[in-house]
């Protein structure tokens, strides 16, 4: 009987807490644009972590997410998991004094709980363009209280990105690129508009072979043939690698100009799609892979 009593009292305790819970004061989770305390920052999103390092403020970091794999030193930080599957207790367990999270971090419930905690939570927007990168730098700099440093970095980045874009300005024959995210089960998952893949293709002076849908979608064989890509672009180091043989074994891919010339470019996912401090170099690398000697400095 004592057992039952104990179980019941545990239940009663739980329900008591449940009922009384409404009386608890809510946490002051004010979303400020400047962290009052920058000593312990959790960085959620690969490009955010890169920017914090580029600003030389990495001493403040106490945690990262699984998409933050650059620079090498960041790997030493505790990993709070994939940015879209955060565990609120996991994030709070590193005792952050502030959370910098890239737009799209989630799930919503986890973010709501984090915002409810007294830890300031700053969401950094993501736009796949030059202005988008500069905006990220300025927001992160402001949050960490190093506006001047951020402004300097943003100016440098602006110049670098502009010159990277200029390298392909005079090219007449624009290459058509198909960005393939995965080839699982022989199905081609390709990047449409409003994706990082689409953004980097445009910055490198090329054309996204896909039009007519946004986001990542499976493409039918006929749509691939109609898209007529000159080059297939894929990611490396992100999930299972896409093998060239498998890619060109697909008859619809094989029939395109890219298939005839077996032209496929594989680049590191974080580097290619991060839209952070390394994007200017990524644009340059992609442009050289595409246009070779036509790229002007």
């Amino acid at each position: 009987m004592c057992v039952v009593f104990r179980f019941r009292s545990a239940l009663a305790l739980m329900f008591g807490v449940l009922l009384a819970f409404t009386a608890l004061p809510a946490g002051a989770g004010e979303n400020t644009a400047v962290f009052s305390d920058t000593s312990r920052i959790a960085s959620i999103g690969g490009s955010i972590t890169e920017i914090v390092y580029a600003l030389g403020e990495e001493g403040h970091l106490v945690a990262r997410d699984s998409t933050s794999s650059f620079p090498q030193a960041a790997l030493k930080l505790p990993n709070v998991g994939y940015m879209r599957a955060l565990s609120p207790e996991g994030v709070l367990s590193v005792n952050p004094s502030g959370i910098l999270a890239l737009h799209g971090s989630g799930p919503k419930e986890a973010v709501d709980v984090l915002k409810k905690s007294s830890v300031p939570f700053i969401e950094v927007p993501e736009r796949y363009s030059r202005e988008g990168i500069l905006e990220k730098i300025r927001i992160i700099g402001k949050a960490l209280g190093v506006d001047a440093k951020a402004e300097k970095l943003a100016t440098e980045m602006d110049a670098k990105l502009k010159s990277a874009e200029k390298q392909t300005a005079s090219i007449k024959e624009r290459k058509r690129i198909l960005f393939v995210l995965s080839t699982q089960g022989g199905k081609i998952l390709a990047a449409g508009s409003d994706t990082a893949g689409d953004g980097i293709i445009k910055l490198a002076g090329a054309v996204n072979a896909v039009d007519g849908f946004s986001g990542y979608k499976q493409m039918s064989d006929e749509a691939i043939v109609t898209a007529r890509p000159d080059v297939i672009l894929t990611m490396k180091n992100a999930g299972p690698p896409i093998s060239e043989d498998e890619l060109f074994a697909n008859p619809s891919i094989a029939s395109t100009p890219a298939g005839a010339a077996r032209k496929v470019i594989g680049m590191d996912g974080g580097y290619l799609l991060g839209f952070g401090p390394r994007t200017a170099e990524a644009i340059h690398d992609l442009a050289v892979s595409l246009y070779g000697s036509q790229v002007t400095d």
């Binding site: 179980f7 449940l18 709070v80 998991g81 207790e89 367990s93 905690s117 499976q218």
Partner: protein, 366 residues
């Protein structure tokens, strides 16, 4: 697949009914203790070093903590993260296990399970429809129902599949087990295909949410969600014990149960609606958590026999405990990140399920 029925409480047992029920009572008492322990373990374990014991003690005694900021953080972790999650684990674990047991009694087959025969797929379809179409085609529904839209859609999805399945598998008052399983597979495939169409329509953000949601997780536990699905599950679970006598009689065959004065048709509908409600609500908040519905009742039949009067409450207790422990593993094993719980239950449940199948090939003592 040969048609086999579970031996009734009176059949095939070496022990007398009296011994059985005494043993069952002891097991239920032990399971209550195990659940209390699991609740306690779940509350004290997590990625952070927040002490649930201290937080609850301080809160009860009104003690003023030394470090106010840290205390506020720990309070949030215990009251807003762990507690709703533990409560959700108890509700969902009990709902899945009891639904499994009731399904098995209803179809007179120990391998029937809401997941196996497509009920979960139907619930998923309903939930995914709300996630993907909630702001477009189904906007009037979501606006009218608010946070109730998702669990209700999951409920009706599950209900539709169950009713369809029953209509297909039942001819002249007899339910064919083989037909039920095959029809269940077909309906599950259809529901998954429709879910696939919705997934195709989803945008990136919804897509990623869906992927994680389908793996199953108790991570979305919040008080408002518990307020929504809690009553549905509690109501459904409290209706289940009323079925135990009827399910026991049903084990002897529908005709015999009818002669014993059991309102068979009403029993079937109550069971179906109850299971759909419990599973629908569970799927809506926690996604696809597999195997609890098969593994738990089966283990308990081995321990206390097939009498539903004991099997149902015991299933609720063990289901809740196992899911809590699985969730504790999911929350701590890769801290500060966490695993989807569906992975934990499937990794442990799938081999067990295979073991059941292997045993059935040899001796059948269910």
């Amino acid at each position: 697949m040969a048609e086999q029925s579970i031996a009734g409480p009176a059949g095939g047992a070496m022990a007398s009914a009296g011994d059985r029920s005494a043993r069952a009572r002891v097991v239920i008492l032990l399971l209550s203790l195990a659940l209390a322990l699991s609740v306690f373990l779940s509350l004290i374990s997590g990625a952070s070093d927040a002490s649930a014991v201290r937080v609850i003690r301080d809160w009860l005694t009104g003690a003023v903590p030394v470090d106010a900021a840290l205390a506020a953080r720990d309070q949030l972790i215990v009251f807003d993260i762990r507690m709703p999650r533990v409560l959700l684990g108890v509700l969902v674990g009990a709902a899945l296990a009891v639904s499994g047991a009731v399904m098995q009694g209803l179809f007179r087959n120990p391998l029937a399970d809401p997941g196996l025969i497509g009920v979960s797929a139907g619930s998923s379809l309903g939930a995914v429809a709300i996630i993907v179409l909630g702001r477009t085609w189904l906007a009037p529904v979501t606006l009218a129902l608010g946070s109730l839209a998702l669990p209700l859609a999951a409920f009706f999805g599950g209900l539709a599949v169950t009713l369809l399945l029953y209509a297909i598998a039942t001819r002249q008052g007899r339910t064919s087990v083989a037909t039920m399983l095959l029809a269940g597979l077909a309906i599950a495939a259809l529901a998954m295909a429709l879910t696939g169409i919705l997934i195709f329509m989803a945008d990136d953000r919804q897509l990623r949410d869906l992927t994680f949601w389908q793996l199953g997780s108790l991570a979305g536990a919040t008080w408002p969600k518990i307020g929504t699905v809690g009553p549905v599950i509690v109501l459904a679970l409290s209706a289940m014990p009323l079925l135990s006598r009827g399910l026991n009689a049903l084990a002897l065959g529908e005709a015999t149960a009818g002669h014993l004065g059991i309102p068979v048709q009403r029993l079937k509908y109550t069971a179906i609606v109850g299971v759909s409600a419990a599973v629908g609500a569970s799927v809506a908040v926690s996604g696809g958590i597999g195997f609890i519905g098969i593994v738990v009742p089966h283990l308990l039949r081995l321990a206390i026999g097939p009498d539903n009067r004991y099997l149902l409450p015991a299933s609720a207790l063990l289901g809740a405990s196992l899911l809590l422990l699985a969730d504790a593993v999911a929350r701590t094993i890769v801290a500060p990140a966490e695993l989807p719980i569906g992975i934990v239950t499937a990794v442990t449940g799938a081999p067990f399920f295979l073991w059941i199948l292997l045993r059935r090939r040899g001796i059948v003592d269910l």
